[in-house]
Amino acid sequence: MDRSARYPVLGFLALIAALLFIRPALAVNYACGNPSSGHCYGVTQWTEKPEYFGAYTDITQVEMGCPSGCNGFVDDEIWLTDSHTAGCKTNGFGQCWVEAGYFFLDGAKNKNYFWAESKPGKSAAFTLHTLGTAGPSGAINHYMLIKDARGAAGVFQIWIYNTSLSTLYHGTSNNNLMAGDRILLGQELAGTNGASAAKAHFTRNIWAVKALGPEYVFWYNTQIHDGSVTSQNPPFASWAVHPGPPPPEGGDFTTHCCQ
């Protein structure tokens, strides 16, 4: 081979080598949100019941990170949503919801417990409540969302707690006339790069068969189907134990991020 022919080949091989080195770095980049595109999800969702009065899951606390410049956040959480009530269809998001979980925000020092809501209405009102530093990795916390029928209409109660009740956050969503028609749980990822989250387990996946009454009990059935799983890779999500006869109640759904 003459020298003039060899240079393009060498250049091509050098390009391949460069790309091989670049690829691992690409693995932690993602396109999960800017002012014109939405977030990424690793979730399962159930929609078969006419109304879910509440939702509950146990989530393991895991190591998370989203260093300064990650441009977003990563979380593990549960949602109860409504996409059929007229006021929810037109509230800007096209849905109402209450949600609870823990997240790691861009450049934060710790992961934090939070709950949030979006109600029926025309003004895209969204409210986020940041509660406090989330528990140590390995701990299991309980997340409960339930419609409250004991008084005025449009009330949802939110609890985040551990078994010993040394952590017991409580929030109330008022003036929220949604009717839950979907339960989702899993991971949300926003931003462009650098986030991480170890494998989290979502167990005891159950739903409220009636609203909270004076007996002050979460009456539930367990999830017995996989639901519809979305894994946008990242976040990565799958069933480790499919829902079915317990134990564990409602299977074991897992998420992790971002490679």
């Binding site: 060899r6 790309l19 690829r23 690409l26 693995a27 396109a31 999960c32 949100g33 002012p35 014109s36 939405g38 509950y56 949503t81 800007g92 998001f93 096209g94 849905q95 919801w97 925000l105 020092k109 949030a116 209405g121 003004s123 895209a124 009102a125 969204f126 409210t127 986020l128 409540h129 940041t130 509660l131 406090g132 530093t133 309980h142 409960m144 609890w159 009740l165 952590t167 956050y169 003036n175 989702l184 159950i206 909270l212 002050y216 009990v217 009456w219 059935n221 367990t222 017995i224 189907h225 996989d226 519809s228 799983v229 979305t230 894994s231 946008q232 890779n233 990242p234 499919h242 079915g244």
Partner: protein, 175 residues
């Protein structure tokens, strides 16, 4: 020369395929478990007690350093610098667009009256700082929701600790 190209070409094609996979990593994978035994319905309601106990007071997220002169700690300059650096939590709009419009001190009880029932939960008589913001605010909800844009938003800080307790966009009924 031809021999070299024949060696390089498959490698390049394999690499490009891998690269394409990396670029299209955002794929929705619908999975079902067809072998699942359907033990449908028939479930009797089971009771799970609602947690009862001493509720944990929300402490929020570390945000503003509070000095003895509390009002000065929440100056427009300090708050603007904070939001330009940290943005409003979960906001996908540019942090640089955020302008602090108003800073008000009030009780959590009065805050709820201003925000259509929203409160931080730290206690009705506790002092909070309501910061009204202008800018480009873009929030996303659960899967399937639309991006919602707003030009007005707010943040609520604990006046004692400077921690961020609550944030959001301004909705119907809020004053």
């Amino acid at each position: 020369m031809r021999k070299h190209i024949l060696i390089a070409l498959p490698a390049a094609l394999a690499l490009l395929a891998g690269s394409a996979n990396a670029q299209t990593a955002i794929n929705e994978a619908q999975t079902v478990n067809p072998n699942r035994v359907n033990v449908e319905s028939g479930q009797k309601p089971i009771a799970l007690p609602i947690p009862k106990g001493k509720e944990t007071r929300p402490v929020g997220m570390q945000a503003i350093g509070v000095s003895a002169k509390v009002e000065q700690s929440f100056s427009i300059e300090t708050l603007t610098a904070y939001f330009h650096k940290r943005n409003l939590p979960m906001n996908m709009g540019p942090a640089a667009s955020i302008r602090v419009e108003k800073v008000e001190f009030m009780t959590d009880h009065d805050l709820a009256a201003r925000l259509n029932g929203e409160s931080t939960g730290i206690g009705a008589d506790e002092r909070v700082v309501l910061v009204t913001l202008r800018g480009i605010f873009v929030f996303s909800g659960p899967p399937g929701s639309h991006l919602a844009r707003s030009e007005r938003a707010y943040a609520v800080f604990d006046a004692r600790s400077g921690n961020l307790l609550m944030s959001g966009t301004v909705g119907e009924g809020a004053q």
